[in-house]
Symmetry: C2
Amino acid sequence: MNDKITSQHVTWHEPTVFRKDREKLNSHRSVILWFTGLSGAGKSTLAHAVEDHLHKNGFCTYVLDGDNIRRGLCRDLGFSEADRTENIRRIGEVSKLLLDAGVITLTAFISPFREDRQIVRDLVDEGDFIEIFCKADLAVCEARDPKGLYKKARAGEIPEFTGISSPYEEPENPELVLDTGTLGISECVDRIIRLLEKRKIV
Amino acid sequence: MNDKITSQHVTWHEPTVFRKDREKLNSHRSVILWFTGLSGAGKSTLAHAVEDHLHKNGFCTYVLDGDNIRRGLCRDLGFSEADRTENIRRIGEVSKLLLDAGVITLTAFISPFREDRQIVRDLVDEGDFIEIFCKADLAVCEARDPKGLYKKARAGEIPEFTGISSPYEEPENPELVLDTGTLGISECVDRIIRLLEKRKIV
């Protein structure tokens, strides 16, 4: 076969490496673990704790959270309803790329709107999107207030703050509900790993 | 240690798995291979051929191209200069995430503007961004016209088409220049692999 790049050889334009090949190379399936819940409910903490566990066991992982998204890909977006929707849309699209790249992708965003989460779920195949609802009472989250955001929101310094001045729409059929207001981290991690085992992902 | 998720235990919020850990798990460094050049110059063909080679040798790879970006993350963008700049910015940010995820990331976009490519280069550390200029004459690319785009552009059906009605700014100091107008694919792939070997990436 002549290997010149010509329009006659368009097959060369096509990918030859697919998700299933990357999963085979990595020796595990990829999936999106979508953590949702109020600020302070423990999404990021849990995502990193699960990543830690998975990585130590040889799995390819990546966490998308405010730190690497809001300062980068979504730095042009604010916190209006439209911008939040666009924020989640982009995170969904990036998660889909990482999924295709064979990576177990963990996302830690409030993602307060049911419709936005549904859009992400619909981007991928059945079973590729695992919604984990970090369910902690507002009072608990506000008492923790690790970043001092609730205090600022109560003072009116942060407009449209989820739970205070903007709604959080609880998931109706999440794959997993974790009472992060009372459960310890280890227990939450265990439950997530058990779910992944049950689904033959790990 | 009490493993409750509380604000007293903020260390748990922090990532414990970093790029170097993922690279160690994968047994190779990650890098961005940024292919740039005219439509028809062979960027996507080459990116997929290099991915094929790397994957067969056990490397974690992913190709970003029009197929998975323009229909997804950047579906809201057109081809005006501003939209092209935003398109490349987002691709750069996603490449940075994949780099951090430990993946050898290959991008195949015309990326005609020098400043836009520089912005991506500046997003990452020295050595993480390898610019590969697929240098083929406009006449060659137009003769190939694998997608029939030049024909449409000449007919005025595609505004701001690079090389016809919009400029292509050649890289001034790319890490690699490949004369894709005359070289065969195997030769181009070999040169890229040799560069990666020289840089101790593969």
